[in-house]
Each structure stands twice: as C-alpha cells, then as structure tokens.
Amino acid sequence: MAYMNMSMGEAHRRITDYLNRFSDAVSSQDGASFKSLFALSSNSPFLLSLADAVALFHDANRLINQSDSYSQFSDILLPLLRSVQNYKQGDFVEAYLAFEKTANAFIQEFRNWESAWALEALYVIVHDIRVLAEKADKELASTGKSPEKLKGAGSFLMKVFGALAGKGSKRVGALYVTCQLFKIYFKLGTVHLCRSVIRSIETARIFDFEEFPKRDKVTYMYYTGRLEVFNENFPSADYKLSYALKHCNPQREANIRLILKHLIPVKLSIGILPNHRLLEKYSLLEYSNIVLALRRGDLRLLRCALQDYEDRFLRSGVYLVLEKLELQVYQRLVKKIYIIQKQKDPSKAHQVKLEVIVKALKWLEIDMDVDEVECIMAILIYKNLMKGYFAHKSKVVVLSKTDPFPKLIGKPVNS
C-alpha cells in the first residue's frame, strides 16, 4: 500500500495543508482553488495522496476540530475526507454516502454566500455526486443489492436546482445542474422526470436562456432534442438538435457525432438527406444504406439496413423513426414506376396498375398481394405523399396530373 511509505508527520502535514487550502479559499472567495478540493473523480494526485494521508493518520477529526477556521466547516470536511479515502480504496458505496453528506452541508453554506464565487465548486460537486452514485450503484448491483444511489443523487440535484432558481447571479448555474439531471434521468430511463425541470427553465420568468454559458446550452439542446425525437415532434427536434450541432465545439467530434446520430433520422423524416461525406467523417455509416434506400425507393434495402443495425438503432431510440421511413420509400418507388411508364407512354403514365407495383415489390423479394398494396397506396394518398384517387374495381391508382408526389421539403409526413 502506497501510504506505508508516508510518515505520520507527512500525513499530518498533508491533511493540514488541505484544511488550510479550504479555509483560505473560503475566506478569499477563491473559486478556482476551492473547486479542486472536491474533484474526487478527477483522480488528481493531490487528492489521491490526501486519501493515503487520511487512511494513515486515522484521526482527522481531531485536526479539524483543532482550529476554528476548519471546525466551522466540519459538516463539510469530515465526510469529505472520509469520502476521499473511501474513493481511493474503491469502496464506492461508502464514498457516495459520505460525499452526499458533504454535498448537503455544502449547499447549506452555499445558500449563505451571496455572490456566485463558489459556483464552479458546486459544478464539481454536482458532477461528482452523479459519478459516485453510478459507481455505487454498480457496486450494489454486483453484490445483488438494489441500486438506488443514482436516484438519490437526482433528488439532491433537484434541491440544488431550487437553490439556484432565484434572482441572483447564481442562477446561471441552473442549466448545468439541469444537464446533470438529464444525464441521470436518461441513464435511469425515467425521462418523464425531465419535464418539470424543462418547464422551470423554459417558462419560469427567472431565467433568460441566452444568459447561460454556451456549453450548457449545447448540452441542453442535445438532450431536449432527443426527447423531441422520442415524442416524434420532428420540427422541434430538428430545431434543437441543429442548434446543438451549430454551436457545439467543432473539436469535440464525439459530441458532434452523438448529435448527428439523432439528427439524421429527424432529417430523413422531413425529406432531407445527409451526404455521404458526413456519414464517413463521423462514423455513422449505419445510416448509409437507409439513405440509399430512400434515394432509390428500395424497400428491401431499407428493411435490411434496419435489421443489420437493429440493436444499435433500438438502443439510441431511433428505430421506430427509421422504420416509419417505409412510407417515403414506397412513395419513391411508385414515383419511379410512374416516371418509367411516362418515358414509355406519356398518355397512360398517370394510371398505375396495382399489379405492376406488386411485381416491382416481388422483384425486391417482398411478397405482398394486391389488397395489401392497395392499403399502402391508400395510406400514401391519405398522408399526402401521393395525389390522386384509387379506382378500386380496376385496381388502378389514378394519379393527379400535377405534382402527384408532393415533396416533404423540411416538413414531416402528415399524421
């Protein structure tokens, strides 16, 4: 064990040094120094060696109570030192429990500090409580116990949000906390809980969205954009994810990729295609056959692509959106049949026999009878993807002479 090499004197010095940094940071309101005192998940050498010192020294309590400048913060410091030690030793449940105590005590003090000087330290705490909770839950689950720490972290974050939702300068921190909450709810699968915090951000008169830091606005638009995709609210999803794309740091390619991963299905649903260069650059080639299927009107290719990447699409929550592209692919196929017929005999082209469509589908290895195809044609007409009417007796689709296949041009298919 590393700390065997440390002497008692050294351990004493390190702990006292830490305590001094803490009280100095508070008295001089030095936010930058302060935040590094809480950054457990950063694995900084500073905190790692503090962990060793605390483990060796055994009686940090006594040190904390030795001086007023530390003892007044003992509710924060005692569990914090314990947490640092537990974290290093890999006891994540204990580390989380102690950190949660620190975090709650911190919020009490934070409310009393009028300026926003300690906001960055708050960010670190909010972030680390989530990360620690995740590690704690993994530990609990692996020993067969019920993982509920992340849920608890969520409750704490709601409390923090409440502390920031006021008129003062601290309120610019609310969006960061919101984004951490999103991460928790998405991980737990409780995305319906996002609604209330979104309502507070978007409709409460306390906040001016433009005031928030750019990085938080990008993250916020990414997650709310994803929610709009779940709700199949495509114009809104397009707006939010495009915002995130436009304003994201271009060097953060992993994040750009994530935005595109969700934006592409939305764009496809409103009749806009990504070009291949984009898919290549951001390793999103799982979409390339879907794009090709839309271009061609190749229903078989669409179904193959959906099957090939079913797992991936399901996990991202975009499978259903992509599956619904079938109608647009049908539209394109029938349009091609119409154009081909027109080239042969313009006078009769606007009448498309159902059995011709059946045969085209058979060629694509899709077995559908005339009645099923009739059904699809009826849907295309109903959703304004095709203009015309259906002559049921003669099993013919009679297309409108003008614009029989209206383009979507940025609007979703009518529901």
Partner: protein, 73 residues
C-alpha cells in the same frame, strides 16, 4: 457510447440502465470561437435529391423488370 473507461465489473450483466449516447462533459470554462462553429458540418444536407432521374442502376434494373412483365401480359 459510454464515456467512462470499461472497468472489470462491466462484464457482469447487471440490471442497470445505460445511456449509450451520453454527451461528453465540456470543461468548466471551455470556450470556442464563434467563427469555427459548425460551418462545415451544418452544410452537409441535401434537400434536392428527390429528382426525376431514372438513369441509375437500380432504376434501370427496375425498368427491365417492369418491361419483362408487360411482355408476359
């Protein structure tokens, strides 16, 4: 994709939710130039692809298939 490195415990199939698409954290004071922002990446979309061109391979094969059917009738 998970942003944290794989630990040994993740091999255990445990009943936990995951979000594969968790956004990476920006640094607390991360800033970037407005000029650099997404110029290239926002201009990679096509809205004029739905044309009347049937000279591609797929369309030619489709035409051949439809013409062979007409002969049968």
């Amino acid at each position: 994709m998970a942003t944290e490195p794989k630990a040994a415990t993740e091999d255990v199939k445990i009943d936990l939710f995951e979000d594969d698409d968790e956004f990476e954290e920006f640094e607390i004071n991360e800033e970037w130039d407005d000029k650099e922002e997404g110029q290239d990446v926002t201009q990679q979309w096509e809205d004029d692809w739905d044309d009347d061109d049937v000279s591609d391979d797929f369309s030619l094969q489709l035409r051949r298939e439809l013409e062979s059917n007409i002969d049968k009738n």
